[in-house]
Structure formats: C-alpha cells, structure tokens
Symmetry: C2
Subunit: 196 residues, 2 copies
DNA sequence: TTGTAAAAATACCAAGGAGTATCTTTATGA
DNA sequence: TCATAAAGATACTCCTTGGTATTTTTACAA
C-alpha cells in the first residue's frame, strides 16, 4: 500500500504542473498519462473521473502548499505590513516555480473552472477564505501592536492586497512581468505605508 | 455586400458572449454555429480558422467597446481620482452585461489565451497599454490641476488600479461579487484619497 | 438576362477527448 | 504457500472537435 500512494501522488503533482501551464480543460488525461508514465487503468483506479482528480489537486496539493507558504509563516510576530510586502515580493519574483507567463495557479483555476464546476469554486473559496482570515488576523494584531493605524479596515485591506496579487499576476502575463511586477510592488509599498 | 458584413458581425458578437461565459477553448465552433444559426460554410468563408475569429473579436469588438467605455469618457476634465472611482464602480456593479460569476472578458481571455497564442497576448497588450496610457495621462493632468499630489507616481498607481480591477473580478467569481466588490470599492476610495 | 464571383449550405473526415471493460500482475495477510 | 483483493495494463467505444471538399444559392455588373 506504499507504491500505490506514490503513483497517486505523482499523478497529482505532474497533473498540477501541466494544468498550471496548459489550463485544466486543455490538459487531457492522455497528456497526464504520457508525462507520468502511468497507464489509464492505474489512473481510473485512483480517480473516478477527471474532475475528482482536479478537486484532489486543489485539496491535496494546492491547499497544503498555500498553508505552509502563506498561512504558517504569517503567524510570526512583527510588523504585518512589512510582512505582507515581503510575502508579495517572494510570490512575484522570489518563487522560481511561479513563472510570469503562466500566472498564479490558484487564480488560473478560479478563473477557468468556477463558472463550470461549482465544486471547484467551493474548494477555491475555502482556500481564499483561509488566506483572507489569516491576513485579517495578522492586521488586527498589527493594529494592537501599534504597527497599523487603528482606523484601518482589515478586511478591506485584505481584499485590496489579494486582488492586487491576482490582478498583477494576470497583467504580468502580458509583459512577462517585466515592468508590471516592479511597479506594482513599489506602489504596494506606498499603499501599505499609508496604513501605518 | 451588406448581408455578409452582418453575418460576420453576428458571429463575432455571439461568439464573444459565448466565450465570455464559457471560455475560448471550450466554446466550440459548432456552439457558435448553433447559437448564430450560421452554417459552417459561412463561418469558414469569413474566418480562416478559429483563432483568426478570436483575434477579430479582440480587435473589432473588445477594443472598440473599451475605447468608448473607458478611454473616451476619461478625457473629460475634473478630479481624476473621483473619475477613476466612478469608472470602477460602474465596471463592477453598474454594468449589466458584466456578471460577477463570469468575470471580466478581457481578463478571462488574457488568462486563458496568453500562454497559448502569442497573437492574443499582443492584441490584449495593446488594449491594456491603451487603457494604461489614458489613465497615466489623466493622472498627470490631475497633478497639474492640483487634484493629485505631486509626488504620486502615475504609472504605479495605474498598475495598482488595473491589477485591483482584474483581481477583484476574479475574486468575485468565488462569492458572486457579494462582499468582495463592495469591500474593494471602499478600500479603493481610501487608497485614492491617500493620493490627494 | 445572364455570367461570374461572393456567400452560404451540406456532407464528410481524421484526430483527439473522456471513460469502460476486461484482463494481468503484484502485494499481503492468514 | 496460496487465496484474495489491490493495483496496473491493454484495448477498445462512442462522441466531439476543428477543418476541408464540394456543391448550391445569392447578388450584381455588363
């Protein structure tokens, strides 16, 4: 019962990468089989159908990655505004897996799948809610610690930050992130400064 | 030579709506034929292939619509910050064609097509450049007229605004725009106020 | 009116899509 | 060791896809 779990995991991981660069609907199961060297029998042993695999990718790959990358490290003390900026910088230019031309995996899936399959929307919504809640919490702690102005509306700021990230990820597809990323980061710094 | 132009236009318009709702790759030519009541012969008389139609949609539908909706009205005098806010409000909640669950047509196409077909990327880049240039110009005029602080970096603010729009359009897919839109708008107002 | 090209209709094709049915191999626990 | 179920392999089916080939209709200039 060890080998099987491994094949299942490679399917999820490779499929995730393919979907990230090609999109969900245009990544065929045969594509996945070809790159994983897994046969169709094995695939359909592990997953009832393509969508079940898609959900599994969100829940078993995307969600844990998000948690350990953005949720857990956010819990540390200090200036939340500094931290948000650092996180954004890391997300946009510090993470070698995330390429400008392919955008953000979470954003891509949301954009593509939400109108089609409600389950994808629910799964992604959970993911975003988790990120949102953490950011709000961190901002509130920052207010208590005097890093952030008292009249700042944490939920609004959070939406502003998350929107900016997804938006610039998409804008960055047009110029390979060459100018959009750096300009966004500079202005984000200005914006965050206005909150303290 | 009048009827032909009309069929061509209906193809572009109906296909645009379908693509907005379903996505480009998952909108089949047969879908388009079914909703337009046009036959395959007529379709391929007007367009060499699907992608040529896609480009025509960007250039002949999306671009003119953008121009008359965001470029031309932006030219009027007055406080550019007020105007940007009003434009955003109209885009997000005042435009009946743009539904939260389907996002922004321009954003959708960029997200979906840019990694696949460079021509789509170039066309969309032109579109966005036009919007960006206009926003920058308007902000600069606002600085000269005293509506905007002198030390504001117009290009950065523009990227911030455009990113926020695309991002919240995508976020809004997850909650049908119920909370994300209004929160974004409120914080956008705060942000814009910090620029004057 | 009629010849000619524009415009549109119809029928078809090869490739690729998701998913199934059936068989073979591998592991494991009694 | 060996029966049984897990895991994987192979070969299909049926449907949709973008695109083509060919024919028919429409418009209009002479």
């Amino acid at each position: 019962m060890k080998k099987a779990a491994a094949t299942r995991l490679t399917i999820l991981q490779k499929a995730f990468e393919l979907i990230y660069v090609k999109g969900y609907q245009t990544t065929s199961i045969d594509d996945i089989l070809a790159t994983t060297q897994v046969t169709k029998g094995a695939f359909y042993y592990h997953f009832k159908n393509k969508d079940e695999m898609g959900l599994a990718i969100i829940n078993e790959i995307l969600k844990p990655t998000m948690t350990e990358s953005f949720i857990t490290p956010l819990q540390n003390p200090g200036d939340p505004l500094e931290f948000i900026y650092g996180m954004m910088q890391h997300l946009l230019i510090g993470n070698p897996f995330l390429k400008p031309e392919f955008g953000c995996p979470a954003s891509n899936i949301t954009q593509e799948m939400t109108p089609w399959n409600a389950d994808f929307g629910h799964a992604m919504n959970e993911l975003m809610k988790q990120w949102e809640d953490t950011l709000v919490e961190v901002l509130e702690k920052g207010k208590a610690a005097g890093f952030v102005k008292k009249d700042v509306h944490s939920k609004q700021v959070t939406i502003m930050v998350m929107s900016g990230y997804w938006g610039v990820r998409n804008l960055g597809k047009l110029d390979q992130g060459k100018e959009s990323y750096s300009r966004y980061l500079k202005e984000l710094k200005n914006y965050l400064n206005s909150l303290k």
